[in-house]
């Protein structure tokens, strides 16, 4: 169903591709295929070099150094068993041999790695001794990334990552393609995954138009890094070191500070490197995120693929009113690496309005008439504003600081879970994305008649849970949420997001028209925005529930 099926095991796959797959599996690169769009292709010739340059550089460095040192040893001490010229030749020969072997390995790995994009699948065959044939269904796409590591950027190459919901490594990694080819391939995959097909011109897939909605200035990224928790840790560490230094009258302790400084510097650097030039755009294919200083990355997350959204505010960011937005996307999984964290970040640092804009992209229908007020209450508010239900007063000693902020609110389309006083957090889960939920109650909770709710979503940085809510309210939410989730699932659109639901087609206006005719609508997508209730006129405030 997902990535790991060998294509040979699926003879039922539609006619022409099935034939091509079987044929290609036997003898790589052989023969013409039925449709040129489905042809087996190879990644760019120099990509193994770009991928393996570190290994290559390391080998050259060590070999080169040995040879160099040997040369000097021979020259100065005359202990070399071989005559001088022979030693040189031998060394050169060895280096040449190593380079040739590596080049051959690169060539073979390149030659045996081929990919194919059919109407329904993307397939990759790789490996020489241990063959791997992988195919992933296009309509199961969770996200597509185009990544350009620094060296690849120099060569104008890019890596394409195709994610399905296995939460592990990328289902399909094509490294490396020419940037234009990668873009074209992404457009093709997205168009086919979206269910937009133009039978007459299968080749002419235009990239869906996009409209930039959020741009983060680099200065703010730097400022955000400076105001992050790392800085607090640095200040604390500095205080400890200085105190110890004064108490014990020795400057040696200060040297222990060096690794701390290096670590903090690294974290600032990674924040800047991944947050630099951050832009979010909307397109019919979903949310597009672009960022990066040395390594650049362009992510496309199709509509409805964000499983849960977290809005976090570290304590010092409160001074500037900044927030970070992270999201659970099925294919991205949970990774502790910088790269993994950057991928799940939908907005590294943004103001309240930008956060609301991102929210509007992820959740075009907030399900309430007062979206701005409700989400703002979730981000900064406390107590029962805007329909939030908080920890009852009787249980305040279980959470002496956070009890006024702990809470949840329900709109027609999403569930809002609020927590944290110092590290403020708001989690938004669309109803149709709830995988399962559980309600837990320990003995102490029972004594105070409160319960904890835990919502399971795909792996990611966001953990939707709400603690210490009134038992009766928790049970009501528990059962109500099960019903709401079931309803929302029934309402939710098809996996192929452009195969429009007939009822909703007119609502999209010109875009829907264009998609009916051409492969991709030429009209810029409309940017969904949340309008404050005040600007909507006098609407009744019972939008939620």
């Amino acid at each position: 169903m997902t990535a790991h099926e060998p294509s040979g095991g699926v003879p039922a796959a539609a006619g022409p591709e099935g034939g091509a797959g079987a044929e290609g599996a036997g003898q790589p690169g052989s023969g013409p295929v039925a449709r040129s769009g489905d042809a087996w292709q190879r990644v760019h010739f120099i990509s193994p070099l770009v991928r393996g340059w570190i290994a290559l550089a390391a080998i050259l460095y060590f070999v080169g150094r040995d040879w160099f040192e040997g040369l000097f040893d021979a020259g100065t001490r005359g202990r070399s068993p071989l005559p001088e010229g022979v030693g040189l030749l031998l060394a050169a020969g060895v280096v040449l041999g190593v380079v040739l072997v590596i080049a051959a390995a690169f060539f073979i790995s390149w030659y045996f790695t081929r990919y194919q994009v059919t109407a329904e699948h993307v397939r990759v065959h790789s490996g020489v001794v241990f063959r791997q044939q992988r195919q992933a269904r296009l309509d199961r796409v969770q996200a597509i990334d185009i990544v350009q590591p620094f060296l690849a950027r120099i060569f104008g190459l890019a890596e394409l990552k195709f994610e399905v919901a296995d939460a592990g490594e990328s289902a399909v990694r094509l490294a490396f393609l020419k940037l234009d080819d990668a873009r074209k391939l992404r457009a093709t995959i997205l168009a086919r995954a979206a269910g937009v097909t133009d039978p007459e011109h299968p080749e002419e897939v235009v990239e869906a138009p996009e409209r930039e909605v959020v741009v983060i200035p680099p200065a703010r990224v730097l400022g955000a890094a400076v105001l992050s928790g790392t800085t607090i840790a640095l200040v604390v560490a500095a205080a400890v070191v200085v105190t110890l230094g004064v108490v014990f009258r020795t400057p040696i302790i200060a040297t222990s500070f060096i690794p701390v400084v290096i670590g903090v510097g690294g974290s600032y650097w990674s924040a800047l490197n991944t947050g630099y030039n951050f832009r979010a755009a909307t397109s019919p294919d979903g949310i597009r995120l672009r960022y990066g200083l040395l390594d650049t990355r362009a992510q496309t997350v199709p509509p409805g693929r964000v499983q849960a959204l977290g809005i976090v505010q570290p304590p010092l960011w409160r001074l500037k009113g900044w927030y970070r937005v992270t999201g659970n996307v099925a294919g991205y999984g949970l990774s502790a690496s910088n790269e993994g964290q950057a991928r799940t970040t939908l907005l590294p640092v943004g103001t309240r309005d930008e956060v609301l804009q991102i929210l509007a992209l992820v959740l075009p229908d907030p399900g309430t008439l007062r979206p701005v007020e409700v989400f703002s209450a979730g981000m900064t508010g406390r107590d029962g504003e805007e329909g939030f239900i908080t920890t009852p007063r009787r249980a305040r000693w279980l959470a002496p600081l956070a009890w006024r902020r702990n809470g949840f609110a329900v709109t027609r389309t999403a569930l809002l879970l609020r927590s944290g006083v110092l590290w403020r957090q708001l989690v938004v889960v669309p109803h149709e994305r709830t995988q399962s939920l559980s309600i837990e109650q320990g003995p102490v909770d029972r004594r105070f008649r409160v319960a904890n709710l835990q919502f399971q979503t795909t792996p990611g940085p966001v953990t939707p849970r709400v603690s210490l809510v009134d038992s009766a309210g928790a049970w009501e939410l528990f059962h109500g949420q099960a019903v709401r989730a079931a309803e929302a699932r029934r309402r939710s659109g098809p996996e192929q997001w452009m195969k429009s639901r007939p009822a909703e087609a007119p609502a999209q206006g010109p875009g829907a028209q264009a998609s009916a005719q051409g492969p991709v609508p030429d009209v810029l997508p409309e940017v969904p925005v949340y309008v404050p209730a005040a600007a909507q006129g006098e609407e009744p405030a019972d939008g939620q529930r």
């Binding site: 399962s436 837990e440 835990q454 399971q456 795909t458 792996p459 059962h479 989730a485």
Partner: protein, 171 residues
């Protein structure tokens, strides 16, 4: 099975097989025995004089005693724990509950189930019961139903799969 005040009307919790209690008791007995024997080794060595003075006699006596008390407590709790396990099939989802002190109720929509496991261990096979495990796209969904009679487990698996297919949503 106690009903929660907010449970929707018509919700009937099904209990797991009483044989599961026997399996658990057997497991508990073996586990407790092993622990008690292990923790009695210092005491035996002390009493036979093989060890001179290292563990004070109080500790040597106390260790197996504490283990024994914990084992007895767990054994006393077992029947209630097994009795607390329950499940209920609804139109859209399956409810699973467990726990005496730390209670947990989980709801798993049929349309969210990616696959259903039925596992049988040697002890379970001897008693004719099995364990059902539900898997969704979230690894945190930890919904397992131990102690189902084999035919009930099979029936439930088939039913859940059928219902899941009928209601299968994407992610």
């Amino acid at each position: 099975m106690p009903r929660e005040p907010i449970d929707p009307s018509g919700l009937q919790w099904s209990r797991v097989s009483p044989k599961y209690l026997r399996v658990r008791l057997l497991g508990w007995l073996i586990g407790s025995l092993v622990w008690v024997v292990l923790c009695s080794i210092p005491l035996v060595l002390r009493l036979t004089g093989a060890w001179e003075s290292f563990p004070p006699l109080g500790v040597a006596w106390g260790l197996p005693a504490v283990v024994l008390v914990i084992a007895a407590w767990r054994g006393l709790l077992l029947p209630r724990q097994v009795a607390a396990i329950g499940y209920a099939e609804r139109d859209e989802d399956l409810l699973v509950r467990q726990g005496v002190f730390f209670q947990r109720t989980m709801v798993v929509p049929y349309g969210r189930m990616q696959y259903v496991d039925v596992a049988v261990g040697p002890l379970e096979r001897a008693f004719g019961i099995c364990t059902l495990k539900l898997h969704t796209a979230s690894p945190a969904t930890n919904a397992s139903l131990p102690g189902l009679p084999t035919e009930e487990g099979t029936r439930l698996r088939e039913q859940l799969s059928a219902r899941g297919e009928a209601r299968l949503a994407g992610l």
